[in-house]
């Protein structure tokens, strides 16, 4: 985390007409390919990002702390300036927010996967062949709105094999373990209470999962549900309160909209492509002074382990950079929530390149937007939570501290 906290920043923040664009390239950082010895960013032809880096102050950011591999939620909260250790949001709460489901105080939510189990109940596919949203919507209908011990269980479709489970009733607790063992070859786990106060909730979930198993038992595949990340409605201070901004989020994937909503951003309706997201930015540019734009493709291709597809995603984004810079925002930040090296097929702990461009940024000698070049940047190695104060400073939205 940064040396300063949100309340400190709140004491300095002021509203001005200047505009900040925070472009979050999900899973931005990478590792060298075994053959070429170059990372995804080093391989990609990104003249526009390089040009921007040359006019920016650059560096490397740690989403949580050196050595810690960050999930998407802590990685984004850190970029929004929220200490990701203080403000931990469970996956379930994020999924609910991402489908615009209004969690109420006392609700408990979980992320669900439709999966496939064999006749012995052993998981053979954790994602049930990534079934289509249409199919999972039908499955959710079968297991939705079931009442157990006075608690209503809602099954809400999200996307593909993903769904969101919400428990609504009195005396619930989210201090319960996952049923998702996160690997195949095992049966789904029994949900356990972390403390005596959560025992009833665990029991209700276990009863519910037995019902689900019965209801879906006639199907060959997508015949069971895996739950993880139980959590209640998150309570975070709004960005409007802390930064005195009027922030907007442009994100095609539900979870990132959920994250943005959790910190009080207005969620702008957008399409699935980067082009759609940029069109949305242009359309609403006059109405906000802070825009969070989320680019998913880079992370998805990194997770796939598809090095050249991640390179292509970076090149695709690069071609559209001039459309963003043409808006002439006072501050543009290009950052990542964590690294997703294609060679590791997943998130990693490696520090993430970041650039901050403004009239006042004090450019360094960095001429390329790569992991290696950013080592030599003027920002050095910073905590991701420092990026937002720097963006605010570059937008001249922070008053002086002390006399």
């Amino acid at each position: 985390m940064s040396r300063v906290n949100l309340q400190f920043i709140k004491g300095l923040a002021k509203t001005t007409p200047s505009k900040i664009i925070l472009l979050v390239v999900d899973g931005l950082g990478g590792l060298p390919d075994n053959v070429s010895g170059k990372t995804e960013l080093e391989t990609a032809n990104t003249p526009n990002l390089d040009l921007l880096a040359a006019k920016s102050i650059c560096g490397l950011s740690d989403p949580v702390s050196p050595g810690i591999t960050s999930g998407s939620a802590p990685g984004h909260l850190a970029l929004f300036g929220y200490d990701p250790i203080t403000y931990l949001i469970g996956r379930g709460a994020l999924e609910a927010m991402g489908i615009d489901f209004p969690l109420m105080p006392g609700d408990v939510a979980a992320r669900g996967n439709f999966c496939t189990v064999d006749k012995e109940g052993i998981i053979t596919d954790r994602r049930a062949g990534r079934i289509l949203t249409e199919q999972s919507t039908k499955l959710c209908d079968l297991i939705n709105n079931i009442t157990i011990d006075g608690v209503t269980v809602l099954a809400l479709p999200v996307k593909d094999h993903r769904m969101c489970l919400v428990l609504r009733g009195k005396g619930l607790s989210s201090a319960i373990s996952d049923s998702d063992p996160q690997q195949v070859g095992m049966a789904p786990l029994k949900v356990l209470a972390d403390n005596p106060g959560a025992e009833r909730t665990a029991e209700i979930i276990n009863k519910y999962l037995e019902r689900v198993k019965e209801i879906l038992s006639s199907y060959e595949s997508a015949n069971m549900l895996l739950l993880r990340g139980f959590d209640g409605k998150p309570e975070l201070p709004a960005m409007s309160e802390i930064y005195k901004l009027k922030p907007a989020a442009i994100a095609s994937y539900p979870m990132y909209r959920g994250l943005a909503r959790a910190v009080g951003m207005e969620i702008l309706k957008t399409g699935i492509s980067v082009e759609d997201e940029i069109a949305t930015l242009k359309q609403h540019y006059a109405n906000h002074d802070f825009f969070f734009i989320h680019i998913k493709e880079t992370d998805a291709r990194g997770e796939d382990g598809d090095f050249s597809a991640k390179v292509k995603a970076l090149e695709h984004l690069d071609k559209l950079i001039p459309e963003i810079t043409a808006l002439n925002p006072d501050v543009i930040v290009v950052a990542g929530d964590h690294s997703t090296p294609a060679t590791m097929k997943g998130h990693s702990w490696h520090s993430v390149p970041v650039l901050i461009h403004s009239q006042w940024c004090r450019p360094d000698a960095v001429q390329q937007f790569t992991e290696l070049a950013c080592i030599y940047g003027g920002l050095g190695r910073i905590a991701a939570t420092d990026i937002m104060p720097l963006a605010m400073a570059n937008a001249l939205k922070l008053n002086k501290y002390g006399a």
Copy 2:
């Protein structure tokens, strides 16, 4: 300190077959020689360390915080990932652990030096000409097992002029000042209580030191005792609990074995030379997943102010590096507990070069393992407490944080 604490790391750590070697080169960092303008590391011919650096991610570490000169204990605790400000161990407790003396809860221990005083009781040599262990063992016998006010005082020989004093009895406190003024030309200091609860302990020590003076008064040299670093039994969480490792320590000097024992490492029996230590590593390599190897010579020669001897110690170590890398550990870290520039003849606050090598380390452009080259390393300037989380991450022993 790191942004994360031990409990946070404990929540992410997992046991895997991968192996980590932490090579601690005591007093590694240096300063330029007045004539050549080069540091000890820059002067030394270290082709193997340079080759390793070229394949590693490098940087500079602060043992405690920028500007703070670290003792050996905080420097090592930081490298083991323990915040050296939270977990302060007194010298006395370390000395006791280093001679395998089992401190009990309630004991108070101190580091002692046999010294030489003149007829007026003024210290003329703080180390009594570095008398041999044989002689200090005899002296200890003379002043051992003395009971004062119901408290037993034990005098235990350590090495050369060094000894360890242990007080065992009821109601003792370690909140007392040193008798060692750490300079010649003064009389030993009266031990003072930091608070009223420690007054009785201070009085017992002062009475004991009067007895020691009487008993040793017939000797020309080694005729007095200086005490410092009063402390009780340290209570630190074990590395096995935090990191889920099976850690082993290879250290030829007692104090470093004591430090390793304090964090729950298994102490492997070894000889005095680096060759002995590496033989011990090879012998036990299959049985542990974490090895701390301590190299003392570099610090000792730095303390002596012998620039070229420190250079030789570095070159000697460098020749043996291939024997360590040949074991093909998943992660190898070369670090220092603090800088000991020969020009300063003591520990200093200067940041310390560090390299981390693994399949996943994301190498930077550093080609030499020197203070100057490491400035441009991919780690940047990190807290020494970040090294252990990075080593764990590189060994793929840390789970992802958050969804």
